[in-house]
Symmetry: C2
Subunit: 222 residues, 2 copies
Amino acid sequence: MKKGVVLLSGGIDSATTLFLAKEKGYNPRALIFNYGQKNKKEVGCAKKIAKKTRTPYTVIKLPFSWKGSALLDSHIKIPSGRSLKEIGENIPSTYVPARNLVFLSVAASLAESVKAEGIFIGAHAEDYSGYPDCTKEFFESFRKTLIRGTKEGRRIKIYTPLLKKDKTAIVKIGLRLGVPFEDTWSCYEGGKRPCGSCDSCIFRKNAFKRIGIPDPYFVRGR
Amino acid sequence: MKKGVVLLSGGIDSATTLFLAKEKGYNPRALIFNYGQKNKKEVGCAKKIAKKTRTPYTVIKLPFSWKGSALLDSHIKIPSGRSLKEIGENIPSTYVPARNLVFLSVAASLAESVKAEGIFIGAHAEDYSGYPDCTKEFFESFRKTLIRGTKEGRRIKIYTPLLKKDKTAIVKIGLRLGVPFEDTWSCYEGGKRPCGSCDSCIFRKNAFKRIGIPDPYFVRGR
């Protein structure tokens, strides 16, 4: 079996991507980033999903002591109560400088080190059209840089299986594959329960509503 | 003054690059990586150089727990006693998977966060022709990826002022600019004193010999 590295954040997209990597015949290893995000729950959820699926994982603590993103900086408010249309219009304040560039670079280093042949990232351009590091153009350019700047980059493919999917389609795929959505976390805020009004909560609620089933996170007696 | 981010390793090249960034009119901020290298001295040297030159600095601890490089892995011997010709022939075992890709990505994140307009890296292709992440093609490709995948990447230039220089030329530039070479560390091994026979020590010795002055590191009563 080919080895793969999967970026696992603890959310719906990356958990589904982990299952898609397996379906594609990869033996995945999860890479989890603790990068100073306000929301501390997602790292725990990512670990839980890795354990439940018997996926070996590595947690990387990235001490992004710099600020400038609503996901990191307690002085910047996370946007709340926006419509789906409003969310996609601009680069949101939740943009973390060069985040996917850093994540993919570390994943590339790990992939090269363990001789993995694929890196899987659950980015999707449709929902988060505002994030420059979730676009097809970025991932293609990254792959070129990887080939140029590493010893074995040519052997490493970048998989973005969800890139053209919206959240509803992703949840449907996840349901088919048996992704434990009850263990995933989407909310940007660091509260005990999902806030229900940040962009990420809005996308999640909307997806389960459209499919017509309750969010498994809330079903498990929380 | 424009802000700049300088990758500072504690060696001759990055220390000289720091001075070149200042000469170019940048107000530099140093980024120092503690990435699990066997040689623990260089991080201390980098900090010392930053302090001596009153450069604000950030130390990033990258827990590269994976192996596969002679610089990280105690089971892999660092090559020793090679000729200058032998050193340049292949990708050496001291290659660290995707190292400069990771370093530059983190630098890009910092640069975007503090609104810096330049990233300076002291790589040079001539001495280390074996490292894919020290080539012009890699840096050019990285810049393209940076523009594609970040909010303000277009504003951030990648400076590689030493790319076409050999070690002798770099030492000459450093001497002109007053770089405190006595505080720099080049040896790949983690000993108390430079081993004198790893590739990096060989380049350094050769440079000072060619210029015809003693290495300031040894002059200061060590």
